[in-house]
């Protein structure tokens, strides 16, 4: 059965169709969250939360965008809500520390952790999410704006700020390497 038919069935309340849709999009959702959180355990929690939200709201899905884009939109907003909550509870620094767990894991398996990934870790989420959506997934500014519930102009300026920040971080790394 095609995705379109599965969506129609799922919206009518067919639980098997919805289960199949979630299974087909699990990998996309997991990898998207991994890229924006840079943290495996946060990713796993958010995948679960996103799927639950999708089950609750499936009737409201308008089929204007791809199903995976809708899931990405839900996941992004859940992540931003979590960050806002952590900032008010002052647990934000703990999460930044946890983000380095992927780096340690990469080192343990002899994988190279690039300076660009380091820069992404430091970049704030408000800029990191639009940057990844634009330059990795290829969404337009309008689509990013709709997904993150911000004006397209704001999405554009956040991507611009993200690129600028990463470029500065990379230059900084290069300068330090030159000095050493």
């Amino acid at each position: 059965m095609e995705e379109k038919d599965l969506i129609k069935q799922a919206k009518k309340g067919n639980q098997n169709a919805l289960s199949l849709l979630l299974q087909q999009n699990y990998s996309i959702l997991f990898h998207y969250l991994l890229k924006i959180t840079l943290n495996r355990s946060v990713t796993e929690d958010l995948v679960q939360e996103t799927m639950l939200k999708c089950i609750q709201k499936i009737e409201l899905y308008e089929e204007k965008a791809k199903f995976s884009s809708w899931l990405i939109s839900i996941a992004s907003n859940l992540y931003m809500d979590q960050i806002r909550k952590q900032k008010t509870e002052k647990k934000y620094n703990e999460q930044i520390k946890q983000a380095r767990s992927l780096k340690w894991k990469a080192a343990a398996s002899n994988e190279e952790w690039s300076e660009l990934l380091d820069a992404l870790c430091v970049l704030n989420e408000e800029n990191r999410i639009p940057l990844i959506l634009k330059h990795y997934y290829g969404y337009t500014y309008d689509e990013i704006g709709r997904m993150l519930k911000i004006p397209a102009g704001t999405a554009k300026s956040r991507v611009h700020n993200g690129v600028k920040f990463i470029r500065e971080e990379l230059e900084d790394h290069e300068r330090k390497r030159g000095e050493a």
Binding site: Q15, N16, L18, S19, L20, L22, Q23, Y26, S27, F30, H31, L34, K35, L38, R40, T43, M51, L52, I55, Q56, L102, K105, A106, S109, E111, S114, L116, L117, L120, L131, I132, H135, Y136, K149, V163, I166, R167
Partner: protein, 103 residues
């Protein structure tokens, strides 16, 4: 400048693709998703029943109070109609902000 941006974009794509290779968890089988959907649907249904029960209970209490007032204190009942009318007019005609509208 444009070349730099393209280079950065390419680098970003490459590095993030590598992340996918490091962390590639197995996709759970369909039974896992079926159980998740069934449990969540059941929870939503139970929550709906609970909310409907509380709504009906609250409505019954309010109706009882109004009925008692009508029988025992008809003057107060008539006075009560004034704020109710004002609230209804405000609710119907006061311009409300649409969902998602920015001030």
């Amino acid at each position: 400048m444009k070349e730099n941006e393209e280079k950065l974009k390419h680098q970003l794509t490459e590095e993030l693709s590598r992340l996918e290779k490091w962390e590639n968890p197995p996709i759970p089988d369909l039974a896992f998703f079926e159980q998740l959907v069934a449990e969540e649907k059941k929870r939503i249904h139970q929550q709906l029943i609970r909310e409907l029960f509380y709504f009906a209970l609250t409505a019954a209490v309010i109706l009882c109070c109004v009925a008692v007032m009508l029988i025992r204190l008809p003057v107060f009942f008539l006075l009560l109609q004034v704020p109710i009318l004002v609230a209804a007019v405000l609710f119907l005609f006061y311009p409300r902000k649409k969902e998602g509208e920015v001030e």
